[in-house]
């Protein structure tokens, strides 16, 4: 079973993927997901995180089947 990961804007370019997945038992929270997909790169202080399209903090727990997304500050409008 797995966690699906979405990346947007500058973070998509940094990681080089827009979508990927990891085994659900590899990460306990959002920050650990980032550590795995970024090869231990520090998470920028302004990085925004969501689980299943709801904003969450980076210490939020993740579970099997979650869609976890990472993106920079939003700049719409």
């Amino acid at each position: 079973m797995s966690i699906n990961i979405r990346l947007f804007a500058s973070l998509r370019e940094q990681i080089g993927e827009s979508e990927l997945s990891i085994e659900a038992n590899k990460a306990d929270n959002v920050r650990e997901v980032w550590t795995i997909i970024s090869n231990d790169s520090p998470m920028q202080a302004n990085t925004l995180c969501s689980i299943n399209m709801e904003y969450v903090n980076s210490d939020h727990k993740v579970k099997d089947g979650d869609e976890v997304a990472f993106f920079p500050p939003v700049t719409g409008g």
């Binding site: 979405r6 947007f8 804007a9 500058s10 925004l48 969501s50 399209m53 904003y55 997304a69 993106f71 920079p72 500050p73 939003v74 700049t75 719409g76 409008g77």
Partner: protein
């Protein structure tokens, strides 16, 4: 009503077309309209074009939440939000927010609220094309 568009739109035609579908004739005394358009300059540089990316699904979810919050806060008759994604050229409209209500205060205040919330919460990202390359916009202006 919320629309995410990947092609150019004409705000005034959209307002008229949407208003024609509403059954609020005689009920509204105020229509507040905000149109955000692309500038050809930013942070001291000429901007040739822009690409707007978004998070499909989450964008609509947050715009719906914002509109629901506006309806909870003010007495509104209807709202229309259109936002562009994709390739955008200077002078193209990027965002349209329209609020219909019985009185002006609710229309003014709700349209401002929707716009400011959209700017801070809706997952859109702008990448500017400059004379010598491209760059992600780091943050929205505060005014």
């Amino acid at each position: 009503m919320i629309h995410i568009r990947d092609t150019a739109f004409q705000p005034w035609d959209e307002i008229q077309a949407y208003q024609n579908t509403l059954s609020i004739e005689g009920k509204y005394g105020a229509t507040a309209v905000f149109v955000g358009s692309m500038r050809d300059f930013n942070e001291g540089d000429d901007v040739q074009a822009m690409t707007l990316e978004h998070y499909p699904g989450m964008t609509e979810k947050y715009l719906e939440k914002i509109i629901q919050q506006a309806n909870d806060k003010w007495d509104l008759l209807d709202t229309l939000v259109i936002h562009r994604v994709g390739n955008i050229m200077p002078n193209d409209p990027i965002v349209l927010v329209v609020v219909w209500s019985a009185h002006r205060t609710n229309a003014f205040d709700a349209s401002r609220f929707i716009m400011e919330e959209l700017k801070s919460k809706a997952p859109f990202w702008k990448k500017e094309v400059l004379d010598n390359g491209s760059r992600w916009v780091g943050k929205n202006t505060s005014k």
